[in-house]
């Protein structure tokens, strides 16, 4: 067996598998971290998923973790696990750019809360990951760093805005990553790249130290290869944070311990009219509908009951756009006036926010309330909703129909408006060879239920185990 095969054996491990080996001292954090850096060196010149590699600090952390574990001071399932973070999470002493020239030289003096939480749990931070500029837009050659590529086909987007998180996790250039989600930016890349990504409930995870896109919509969350790994990462980053007043003092269950492998008695709502209706929507791919319907059959086989439900207010999901652009403009207004040349293609999007009135913003918030109430009422009757994650597979980079791509986020944004937890899990492949995702939405602060459905589904299927061919 050559070194590449040895590296693959280590890098293909899930967090759960690696944690067991680290705890029993059958692999060391140093071996694991070195294997990932070799793999990154081998493949990332094609994928561009990393914008900053932290080799020195990661190896130093790995050595410390190794000593701690050898000394019997094992901290838990993330101890010694190589993780990477989207480049909008502030990292002390390490450049944090949000893929923008505005922040090209920004070196924070503190860690964001979730990065600090990961470090406290013993995770090894491999580096900072590519994204679309300020978490908006779709990736563009005019941005600060090259756009990350989709490991399943380099001509296709990995999804935005957590593009590097999707690409690196899918290509096994890290064991898990952090993304952020304002209108679907964790779930779209998860769907496009055949990984698992969860947007937690609003208020579940601290946004402190994370470059904002829209304060009342942003959610930080893990992107991993399995729901079980997402549970392990979420465990470490969830909880109230005195530095972020939007976080709530809600109990954090032991997510890994509450995972189920059957779904007896679980009630699944399926909003067919908005998410599955091929006659009504312009861009919904028939193969996506067929694939998610097959996944629903698997969930039924696992014991779940299906109920068709209706969500008419989702026609007004564009309230998300109005709120997002208004809040984004408030954050960027000064720089848009004084340093317009430092913005890339996202500048035009931000300027739209300057054309919105207070009345527009308030009306959008009122519509948001209608959508939230409708979802809240519905969640009294069902435990989760299941939908396709996106109406179509990852677009090509040269697809100029930006309107079509943007519109796809209407499947994801309702759950930013409502603050409900939502996860994308792999559920099959299109005839074009690209992955398809299934979205699982839970009641507020019931990430445990969402993760359980994903885990039970992954226990019964192998879509999440499919790996992209990286022999470019």
């Amino acid at each position: 067996m050559n070194r590449h095969d040895d590296d693959d054996d280590l890098c293909f491990l899930t967090i759960k598998e690696a944690a067991t080996m680290l705890k029993t001292k059958t692999v060391s954090p140093v071996e694991l971290t070195e294997a990932f850096f070799r793999r990154i060196e081998r493949y990332d010149n094609h994928l561009h998923s990393y914008v900053t590699l932290l080799k020195d600090s990661a190896m130093k952390s790995a050595l410390i973790s190794e000593k701690e574990i050898m000394d019997g001071d094992y901290k838990g399932p993330l101890h010694g696990i190589p993780i990477a973070v989207k480049d909008l999470y502030s990292t002390k002493g390490i450049r944090t750019t949000a893929q923008s020239r505005i922040l090209e030289h920004n070196i924070p003096k503190f860690d964001s809360t979730v990065v600090q939480n990961l470090k406290n749990a013993g995770a090894i931070i491999l580096g900072k990951l590519a994204m679309s500029e300020f978490a908006l837009g779709r990736g563009d050659e005019r941005e600060l760093f090259p756009s990350a590529k989709n490991p399943w086909n380099l001509d296709h987007m990995p999804g935005s805005s957590s593009s590097g998180s999707g690409a690196a996790t899918s290509a096994e250039l890290c064991m898990g990553s952090l993304g952020s989600d304002t209108a679907g930016s964790i779930r779209a890349p998860a769907s496009f790249c055949n990984i698992t990504g969860i947007k937690p409930s609003f208020g579940r995870v601290s946004n402190y130290g994370v470059v904002p896109l829209a304060w009342t919509l942003d959610s930080c969350g893990p992107m991993t290869r399995t729901a079980e790994d997402a549970a392990l990462m979420l465990q470490v980053i969830a909880g109230q944070d005195s530095k972020d007043p939007s976080t709530l003092n809600m109990p954090v269950p032991n997510y890994a311990e509450t995972l189920r492998t059957e779904l007896n008695g679980l009630k699944i709502g399926v909003p067919r009219d908005f998410f599955f209706n091929l006659d009504k929507t312009l861009d919904l791919d028939k193969e996506i509908v067929e694939t998610v319907d097959k996944a629903l059959e698997t969930l039924i086989d696992l014991g779940a009951q299906i109920k068709e439900v209706d969500l008419p207010s989702l026609e007004y999901t564009s309230a998300n756009t109005v709120i997002m652009l208004s809040e984004a403009y408030a954050f960027h207004e000064n720089n848009l006036r004084t340093k317009p040349e430092d913005y890339g293609p996202v500048r035009r999007q931000f300027l739209l926010g300057g054309l919105l009135s207070a009345s527009d913003y308030i009306q959008a918030q009122r519509v948001r309330n209608i959508i939230s109430q409708e979802l809240s009422d519905l969640m009294k009757d069902v435990d989760v909703l299941v939908t396709p994650s996106f109406p179509f597979t990852a677009p090509r980079f040269d697809d100029r129909n930006q309107a079509r791509y943007g519109a796809g986020f209407r499947f994801l944004a309702p759950f930013n408006l409502s603050g409900l937890p939502a996860m994308s899990v792999p559920c099959g492949f299109h005839s074009n060879g690209l992955p398809i995702g299934m979205q699982i939405v839970g009641n507020s602060f019931r990430e445990d239920v969402v993760l359980s459905v994903g885990h039970a589904y992954q226990n019964a299927t192998s879509w999440h185990k499919q790996k992209p061919d990286l022999d470019f």
Partner: protein, 77 residues
Amino acid sequence: MVASDLGYNMNGNDIPPLDIEDFRSLVQDADLNISEEDLPKLLKAYEPLKRQLQALHELQLEDTPSATRFFPKGVED
């Protein structure tokens, strides 16, 4: 994502396109720092957003407030 396009599939309404001079006034009122070259590009991006705004404002929301709560059922009371 491309923000202005989220309402792409929304039940639209047939409103006339905004005249470039009207749009110029809107941009000037908002005191946006953009060039003459950028003006028509921004207008193109604004058109779908304008349609979405009109649809949102036409909704009959009666006394629906703007505050949004994120508590799970049973916790807020």
